[in-house]
Symmetry: C2
């Protein structure tokens, strides 16, 4: 029987929409990798009653494992350890050895704080070292220790208590995995496979019909849990299945390929970013971008090691900068306007010339909310990708959505243009 889990993310800032939760999605992927089925992610504020209600709900739902994130800080609104102690029926006790270890960490970090108070550190420290009896301590990555709390006398789930900052939670997860109580839960897990296909240019309704037609044509979909999702203009098909159904999944992929071969750009879950990086094979690239304001170069350089092949980019918002930094002829801008296919082409060529790159990208458009016209409404973006002295592709699109969405989608469209160019001529 596959173990089921729930995640409880605490924090009034997360609940209030002030910060967005990165821990739930991250833990979710880790659980899947361990063969645990995630039933619920719950976000609650720093009110102990609401947090307790969430834990009680998950216990009633019969989950085997609860992971909490957040609420381990030094301030009075951080109450997770206490609530989990009460939930598992365990008394709270000061772990003096832990207290000293936390203090040592704080003293090491002291120099980096501009203001500092020994008294505050001690006070914060003491609270963070009061833990439920019988819990396994996970050593602090920042200053907050995590906990693995076994079920109480009345049964119920094992609770893993982790800190809120992703930079602390993620390394601590490895330590949690090694503890005996968590190992006991995971021993019951059977691995589930999760695979992802990515398509571009197919509406979700079209795919719904394809799935029906496949089922009628005898493709065995019964053992596959298939979900589809539109994301950044791409359509993703996520499929979960037990290892015995691997053959069914392969047949499903073949059926998708037969019907939507043009659109299916990734059958192994690779992103278009990863594909472009691989297709470049070390050839150098540079960018001249206007409306995307640096995000295109930022996206290319997200990848570790990208400095090997991304030479750089110019963000040329003003017309003067387009001419001075990307070599776009002034008269071209005057004749066609700054947002025009001609200027996009000149930007791509300018990027190649200025950086001495083997490939170039040019982007110019109207991201909005202002700047649109009847002829070139908000969302109009002219895109160009080119090989130095070789193949090229140019496109003008009208993208939906607000400023942020137009900027992001523009980078996605460019990456697909680049992918096709490199696949054809690469």
């Amino acid at each position: 029987m596959t173990p089921r889990a729930g995640i409880v993310v605490t924090g009034t800032e997360v609940l209030g929409g002030i910060i967005s939760d990165r821990n739930g999605p991250w833990l979710s992927e880790r659980l899947r990798g361990e063969g645990v089925e995630l039933a619920h992610i719950m976000v609650v504020g720093d009110r102990p009653g609401d947090m307790r209600a969430a834990l009680d709900f998950l216990a009633r739902e019969g989950v085997d494992l609860v992971i909490t994130s957040g609420g381990l800080g030094p301030t009075a609104d951080d109450l997770t350890a206490e609530v989990v102690g009460a939930f598992t029926g365990r008394a709270m006790a000061l772990d003096t050895a832990l207290e000293e270890r936390i203090l040592a960490i704080l003293q090491r970090n002291r120099a980096s704080w501009r203001t500092y108070s020994e008294e505050a550190l001690r006070a914060g420290n003491r609270k963070q070292a009061i833990v439920p009896a019988g819990a396994t301590i996970l050593e602090p990555v920042g200053t907050a220790p995590g906990l693995v709390v076994p079920p109480g006398a009345d049964g119920g789930p094992t609770v893993v208590v982790l800190p809120g900052p992703p930079g602390e939670l993620q390394p601590m997860w490895g330590a949690a995995l090694a503890t005996a109580p968590l190992q006991a839960v995971l021993a019951r897990a059977a691995t589930l496979e999760q695979r992802l296909m990515r398509l571009i240019g197919v509406p979700e309704s079209e795919l719904a019909l394809s799935l029906e037609a496949m089922a009628q044509a005898g493709v065995a979909l019964g053992a596959l849990e298939i979900t589809t999702c539109l994301r950044r203009g791409e359509l993703e098909i996520a499929t979960t299945f037990s290892p015995e159904a691997a053959g069914d999944y392969d047949a499903f992929v073949a059926a998708v390929r037969a019907r939507h071969g043009d659109a299916l750009f990734s059958a192994d879950g690779a992103t278009v970013d990863e594909q472009v990086a691989a297709l470049l094979g070390g050839r150098t690239i540079a960018v001249a971008e206007s409306c995307t304001g640096g995000l295109m170069t930022g996206r290319l350089t997200d990848r570790a090691g990208s400095s090997e092949y991304v030479l750089g980019g110019v963000v040329v918002y003003s017309n003067a900068a387009k001419t001075a930094l990307a070599g776009v002829p002034e008269e071209l801008i005057e004749r066609h306007g700054a947002v025009s296919p001609e200027v996009a082409v000149a930007l791509a060529d300018g990027a190649i010339a200025r950086f001495g790159a083997e490939l170039g990208i040019g982007i110019t458009g109207v991201a909005g909310p202002g700047g649109g016209s009847a002829e070139k409404p908000v969302g109009t973006v002219c895109l160009s990708v080119a090989e130095a002295g070789g193949a090229r592709a140019d496109r003008t699109v009208r993208l939906p959505g607000d400023r942020a969405m137009v900027r992001e989608r523009s980078t996605t469209v460019v990456l697909h243009m680049l992918r096709r160019l490199l696949q054809r001529h690469g």
Copy 2:
């Protein structure tokens, strides 16, 4: 009595960590604006049993309002309307007029799909027009209609059913607000104020002590719900209170200012991005960045209207590009290394010179994971901000975290340097 609400975000992709939820945080802020207290955000997969369990939990918790997002698409895994119908004890019925309106939308969009099937559109359409009896329809923004479903015969919460894509959900929320069942819930709401202070350079433990000291000194904090949160290296203090406690809040702000005046850079919730834009007052700025790879310029140009004062930027990853595009002398790079305060200064000056800007930013550093050395480990970033022929500030920092965090934090530190420079000399 303040109404309480729960949000249920559906979708296996969200639960599985494949996409991150933007709707929970957005709805959370809207609810606060309406004076509704949010108790829980729950993320569930596309399993109808889990979704129903979430609704039942919220009903037991006594919430007055539930908002769901997602699960309204044409594929078989989209089940929200049906589950909500069963939850409120309402029969499902085809709304034929709605069916025609959806079809008209689909036909209008037809041209934009590369592949197309009339049959698929009709099939998808029919499913989306089957709604619980007695529900108020919210007209589609994309193709999925939303719903406002009044409580069933046995009471329980009013349920607002919204589509998953943020671009559809957000405009539809306005229509939902205008419906009678939602108005009936909101009529009971008293407005709660939520304010935000932002500090830089204070550890959370220090603030915890300050809060205790204030309480002892007689600052009335009892009527204020105060939560603190570290975010991107800044410390945020979020406070919720009823309008009668406005005087208490003002006294609290004064007390924070008295103790942490240096660190408190925003008492009105304004971000450092907003402050810098205001302080620039239309003066032009340009960027020459290396390790941030375009994100600094991207962050400056996030703001609508930023093309008025952001002239552009150069992303100069390679040494050759640093020289050719930002005018950094070759021998400076040879003597001090590409990551050095001297090169950061030359980049800021180069940005000013190349773009003819009034202010310039220079960034060079080691974002990792590779490229670090004993002398310049991963996280070392040299930053420079300068006025053309005027004031300047330079700083070298060692930032914690992974590649993405180092890149993001670098932009935050630069904005604070720029803020201080403009406040002092602006």
